[in-house]
């Protein structure tokens, strides 16, 4: 794998990786660290990648696994991202003003991020990464039936959250 090939992959799928990582950790700095980790793994294991499957799906799968490993790690449990503290401080007195200033895209993103991880993952895979149900189930390592039911529940929850936010 040459330097240029891995760089091309970073340019082509980098945003997907970075945003997926961000959707897990909610911290840009950590998401960037995970981005680096993901592409080191991609570089090291690219020779074992089978040409038959989609390289994008493969990279997203590595990203999701890396993020899950990070969330499970003791480092994450000890370190609380600064953004999280910042957001918590914002809640309450300035909450109304902040929501007011958000545009629709922000609102949708926050609504998605408000979902529990098990509902957020199918939404991101299917609607954001535009994977097929079969593909997303493989990436998330869950049966297709489970994925479909989670997807349905996630849509309902998202609807409720967005309606609530719209009313606000």
């Amino acid at each position: 794998m040459s330097r240029y090939q891995i760089e091309d992959l970073m340019r082509e799928y980098g945003n997907d990786v970075l945003r997926t990582a961000y959707s897990y950790v909610h911290d840009l700095q950590i998401a960037e660290d995970l981005f680096q980790e993901v592409f080191v793994k991609v570089h090291n294991h690219l020779s074992g990648f089978s040409e038959g499957s989609s390289i994008r799906t493969w990279i997203i799968r590595i990203t999701i696994n890396t993020c899950k490993d990070y969330l499970k790690s003791s480092y994450h449990r000890k370190v609380t991202p600064m953004e999280e503290i910042f957001n918590k401080n914002l809640e309450g007195e300035v909450e109304y003003e902040r929501i007011e200033n958000k545009d629709r895209d922000q609102m949708v993103k926050e609504a998605v991020f408000e979902l529990p991880l098990k509902y957020r993952e199918p939404i991101l895979c299917v609607y954001y990464h535009e994977m097929k149900v079969e593909e997303a189930a493989k990436v998330l390592n869950i049966p297709q039936g489970t994925l479909k039911s989670r997807l349905a529940r996630a849509r309902n929850r998202l609807k409720v959250i967005l309606e609530r936010r719209a009313l606000d």
């Binding site: 330097r3 945003n15 080191v40 926050e110 998202l158 967005l162």
Partner: protein, 236 residues
């Protein structure tokens, strides 16, 4: 949800707005990290190679040392079992009667002669096309067999020596304590006279009781003396 189809668009815009986008600096940092990882992998790989070869060399040394030790113990065992001669036995076996006074020299010569034979046959195939190793083994078996046979003769002879009465005998210069007479196939009789201070005199006589040969030796101990007699006896 009616917005499903627009979800990607909304999220993309939201991410862009928050600048959650790959930038050149991040790519450069990642490339640097990949290079570091490559270097580490190369170092680990060379260390593994070193470890592998080191292990291989260590294993070879262990095998060689084990073989040498086994060889040594095997030789000692064979000496104990009488399959091959001990150094002491070799000295005696190699020392002809007339050279008994200086057995070491004779033993050295015989050993070197024998070594020559083995050396000459230690390369490649023999004329018969037989592997050198097989030939060596065959020779060794034959040699061992002879040694065993010789050893048995010694044992029998020792028994005879002790079983037959040791006749006290006296002479002017040396006080002979024991005498034994052995009749040989050619009709000669050999007298072995042994003193307690390890002197040995051998007399060979014909039927008419005429002495044809007298030799006197001094040996280190009585067991050696018996073995010397044995050698003379078997050569006789």
């Amino acid at each position: 949800m009616n917005r499903e189809e627009n979800l990607k668009e909304h999220l993309d815009k939201a991410f862009q707005l928050e600048e959650i986008t790959v930038h050149e600096e991040l790519i450069a940092k990642t490339m640097q990290k990949i290079q570091q990882a490559d270097q580490e992998t190369a170092e680990k790989s060379s260390f593994r190679v070193l470890l592998k070869w080191g292990g291989l060399v260590a294993a070879c040394i262990v095998v060689v040392v084990t073989l040498v030790i086994r060889q040594m113990y095997s030789r000692e065992d064979q000496v104990d079992m009488g399959k091959i001669p001990s150094q002491e036995e070799e000295i005696l076996a190699g020392g002809a009667a007339e050279n008994a006074a200086c057995p070491a020299e004779e033993e050295s010569k015989e050993q070197s002669d024998q070594g020559e034979v083995w050396k000459n046959e230690s390369y490649g195939l023999t004329e018969d096309g037989m592997q050198k190793e097989e030939k060596d083994r065959a020779l060794l078996i034959e040699w061992s067999y002879n040694i065993v046979e010789e050893k048995q003769k010694i044992e029998i002879f020792k028994e005879e020596l002790y079983a037959k009465a040791w006749v006290p005998y006296a002479k002017e210069e040396i006080v002979w304590d024991y005498q034994i007479a052995i009749e040989e196939e050619n009709g000669f009789i050999t007298y072995y006279k042994i003193s307690q201070d390890s002197y040995l005199e051998i007399q060979k006589q014909d039927r008419e009781k005429q002495k044809v040969q007298i030799s006197t030796y001094q040996v280190e101990n009585i067991d050696l003396l018996i073995d010397v007699i044995h050698n003379l006896y078997t050569e006789g």
